[in-house]
């Protein structure tokens, strides 16, 4: 599945180790949560990047104490209609101040890109090649946002306050 970062398809420098295989001394690795938590000290001692795959049915706050040791957190959308990872993403970014790579994995279609970006994801394992290639244009589908997230975009509420402070503003009347 293509990996998208900064609107481009890129190769993944993380090696996924999903079983008991030994963790290499160097190179970026991505491991499931159980493994990471069990061997936390070993991972902390590595002089290379560590990523964790955090399941969507585990409290994300449990990962908070380890964020300073992580370069990547991968959250999971088992099907795209299962939106728990959106909450996990926002909590990681907005409450715990996580600044590393935040990856969306699982079932990711182009129709979720804008939601995911707004929730704080910055890399995406995209299900379909065509969707991955379209990331750049699709992520610009919307220019108006009604509610604030950690992405810093000004909401329509706020833009209106700015605009109404300026003279000569026109409203579209819905009748008359």
């Amino acid at each position: 599945m293509p990996l998208v970062k900064n609107t481009e398809v890129v190769s993944d420098r993380y090696i996924r180790i999903l079983d008991d295989a030994p963790i290499p001394a160097s190179g970026a690795v991505l491991v499931p949560a159980e493994r990471f938590l069990a061997d936390a000290a070993e991972f902390a001692a590595r002089n290379a990047e560590t990523g964790v795959i955090w399941p969507n049915n585990q409290d994300i706050d449990k990962l908070a104490p380890h964020l300073d040791k992580l370069a990547l957190v991968a959250l999971v959308f088992p099907k795209y209609q299962d939106g728990r990872a959106y909450s996990q993403a926002r909590i990681l970014r907005e409450r715990h101040g996580y600044r590393g790579e935040l990856r969306a994995t699982g079932a990711v279609l182009r129709d979720q890109f804008v939601f995911m970006l707004r929730a704080g994801f910055d890399s995406f394992e995209v299900k379909k090649d065509a969707d991955a290639r379209a990331f750049g244009s699709v992520s610009k589908r919307y220019s108006v946002f009604y509610q604030p997230t950690g992405d810093g975009r000004l909401t329509a509420f706020r833009k209106r306050l700015q605009v109404s402070a300026a003279p000569g503003r026109e409203l579209h009347s819905a009748s008359r």
Binding site: Q81, G83, R84, D111, F115, R118, S143, P148, H172
Partner: protein, 551 residues
Amino acid sequence: MYVHDEFDRTLLQERVNEFRDQVKRRLSGELTEDEFKSLRLMNGVYLQLHAYMLRVAIPYGTLSSEQMRMLAHVARKYDRGYGHFTTRQNIQFNWIKLSDLPDAMADLASVGVHGIQTSGNCIRNVTTDQWAGAAPGEIDDPRIWAEVLRQYSTMHPEFSFLPRKFKIAVTASDHDRAAIKIHDIGLRLHRNGAGEMGFEVLVGGGLGRTPFIAKTIKPFVTRRDVLTYIEAILRVYNQYGRRDNIYKARIKILVHELGIERFAREVEDEWQQIKDGQLALDEAVIDEIRSRFTYPAYEKLTDNPPELKQGLEEPAFKAWYRNSVRPHRVPGYGIVTLSLKPIGGPPGDATAEQMDAIADLADRYAFGEIRVGHEQNLCFPTVTKRDLPELWRALDGLGVATPNVNLVSDIIACPGLDYCSLANARAIPVAQEITRRFANHETANLIGKLHINISGCINACGHHHVGHIGILGVEKNDEEFYQVTIGGRADEGAVVGTLIGPAVPYDKVADVIEDIVETYLDLRLRPDELFIDTVKRLGVEPFKERAYATG
């Protein structure tokens, strides 16, 4: 009237463009139905028995005449010339083609109308009562808060894929005309002991297989804090609501399984972390939204103008005036209900011609503003009393002046097996027959206020659980049977009705309703003891006995 601006219009246009792309990818095979289904539901596109159906949102039930004309246009151009108004202040078009939908949506978007989030596991149309801003005794116009919530909930990045649908309703009156207690979140705007305005927040109401009346989670939340508090509720639900079983996925189940105290604690813990964040509402934002609601330039008028006095000499007008007109908060004006329940007709439908004519009448008599109620009737919230006789003549000519509002023939019914792929039995013909039995308006007035609700399946889109008389269609061996309940209420005294006995076959339902009504007329203490109060006083037994008596 809420005045849309370039931000609202741009967002709608962007949404239409996205949907056009999604339909294109579906029709080219790039998207499977499995992948497409949730996407189309989030734009209000259902598949019914005969065709696709588009459910269009009418935010807090408010329409301009321009918007009503566009609904008529869509009915004519893309559908079969009519639309159906629903129990959540939406309108449904039953015969629409998928290939036409992007164009239909573009037409609707040009006047600020859309189907965004009228289906799917997201926050649905935020509803309030159809008299908002016009009724006496409101503490504030609840539509302002419904609009705050509409913007908050539209394409919310975190809450677009919840465990299940999510419905919010707002009331600002002591008498709850918005049925907040059967919503996932209900908000009651009121003043606390210190005179401060804020919200009682209720959570976990909902009908369907497991009906629940909402419970108060927080008796008072300030206006500043209401959005952060709602965000806390949604975040707890998004993370902990069940996703293993669609029949156990609503927030009412989570509240029931955790208990209201524990649920409230979870929400409080979350809320404490976000209450002073970006969603805290300052007065500038609230005022900005409020400023975009325009109200008529009210004149100083007498409540009893000569035109009205003269009009009342005509019995037909008098009957209608007494039934369909209610006092406005401003003297000299009235709130007019347009009954979409003609005797023998399918409840809640309007033809394109009716819609156009109603739009014209709204311009002429009602400051261009129309409302949709969850009782599936329309409303002109503001009409001068002196105009009423003239208006009535026009409404009567259109067939929307049946003087049966709130009476036995003012039935709420879901589309049922005639349209809906979820249904087990029909609802509309049952409603039609009942109205025919009670076609006599004098009889209906004698009976008084009586809400009958009919659902064609346990999903309860007709809100049968909270009908004064509730009728639920079930299927046995390919035959239609109906369970009858009595004593339900949807207002501030919300309660689920009680079953009176075994299900009865299709051709017996109207007889049973007649029996129930006769029992009431025989046993009521006084003519003004309402049906609902007689049932409360006597219980189900006397009604059951009469309905199931043999011979």
